[in-house]
Assembly symmetry: C2
Homo-oligomer: 243 residues x 2
DNA sequence: CGACAAGTTGATGTTACTCAAAAGTGGTGG
DNA sequence: CCACCACTTTTGAGTAACATCAACTTGTCG
């Protein structure tokens, strides 16, 4: 049941963080150390409760999670999808109020994020980059919900997930795992699950997408990128090459 | 033409930052120093261009600005409204790509944000808090666009602006200045200006709101708060009092 | 096999968008 | 002071996108 792509190579969270900044060997070790005691949390459990004080930043080692806002009348909005290697509550060290619960979408492993060696160490830089990158994805989520229609929203989300999963080695050139129900997708995109379902079928009929089991295959990513005026977000180490 | 509320007391940006952490006297001085050379930018000018490298964080001293994403077909989404005392591009020190342009909504004064004395100084804490608070407002913007209808979105935005302006001393208990056109509001809320206009009129007819010139008066803020399940965001220094 | 969650389908209702034009507002120069 | 301009706000009529409600089907797992 584990995604094939994760069977080889370093664990996703390491791939991710080392892609952001060169880590000191001690930092890599402390990452591996926290991994050992990392508990497994079952799907649908809360990782951080709504309004619960935040002790320290945590690192999502494996599995998917999401920050969620629930409304009284049953409406629910997924604010942000968290993938392996993402940090949870990066800087809420000082202030005790979490915004929205963080729930596990799949079974997940979560560990306290180890402390960087110093304020300018590789790990510290990686954490900062994480926060920066997350902010950009939040901006994208806002633009998505504000100005894209259902078809475009779904395309844009798939492009984002594909891009992010490639960074941690969990996606191939044209496929990625999608362990979310259609209802979760709908809650991410501000749609009803019924409408999301129809949008998904339209994409399949138009042969831009295949969705078998939990695997998405993008058949015409370029068309989707053009449709939503896709702008790549991730800022990787090797970025300074000339185009 | 200056808002009456700003004529007395310390400047808004100082009110804001001192509310977040106790600043060292030297830090207050360096803030006052950058103020002197702060240029005035006219409304509708770009403060940060789309994709333009970010030199350093900047501080919005006065006026309103917004981070914006423009689409080719004329669609536009305001991602986040920036008020006096807000920081622009807090942590994009390392990575050169800005996400979305930042444009002045009114005439603004912008200064480079002075460096904190040290990593744990009051100013450094205030900057971190700023980032944290901004993230919460981004989460709120996402929930707003994803799960609220037009009426609720507008109510929620007004409640947010009122709350934030109170922190900088630019609002009274029930009024605040609103130097945005209806089109800007629509672009913030993911609506058309036509529909926004009708929603505003509905609010006026229901006597929850008055809007004269650039001043909003909230006549029944409690009802609006209940409607959108309002949760206060700002984390202020004096927060630890018992309720 | 039975039960529960997820996905699918159809019919109908509502919210918000589109297009188009009119009316109000403020600033500028003659 | 008025005429003019550009911009903003307002109004109306028709339409499209998405929601709602209520089944029904498919899969999965014990």
């Amino acid at each position: 049941m584990v995604s094939l792509a994760t069977l080889k190579g370093p664990p996703p969270y390491l791939t991710r963080l080392e892609g952001l900044a060169p880590l000191a060997p001690e930092e890599v070790q402390s990452l591996q150390a926290v991994t050992l005691r990392a508990p497994v949390l079952r799907a649908r459990r809360e990782i951080v409760g709504e309004g619960e004080p935040v002790r320290q930043p945590r690192l999502l080692l494996s599995g998917w999670a999401a920050r969620v806002r629930d409304f009284a009348n049953g409406r629910r909005q997924i604010l942000h999808v968290l993938l392996p290697g993402d940090l949870i509550d990066l800087w809420q060290q000082q202030k005790p109020v979490a915004v929205g619960a963080v729930v596990a979408l799949t079974d997940v492993r979560v560990a306290p994020a180890p402390n960087p060696l110093g304020p300018t160490s590789g790990l510290a830089q990686a954490y900062v980059s994480c926060g920066e990158i997350e902010q950009r994805y939040l901006f994208r989520q806002i633009a998505r919900l504000g100005r894209l229609d259902a078809y475009e929203r779904l395309a844009d989300l798939f492009l984002e997930l594909h891009e992010r999963l490639r960074l941690v080695g969990d996606a191939t050139d044209d496929t990625f795992p999608l362990p979310m129900t259609q209802e979760m997708l709908a809650d991410t995109l501000g749609l009803t699950s019924v409408h999301l379902n129809r949008t998904l079928q339209l994409m399949r009929r138009e042969n831009v997408l295949e969705l078998h089991g939990n695997t998405v295959r993008m058949l015409d990513a370029d068309r989707l990128r053009a449709l939503v005026e896709y702008q790549s977000v991730p800022t990787h180490i090797q970025e300074r090459r000339s185009p």
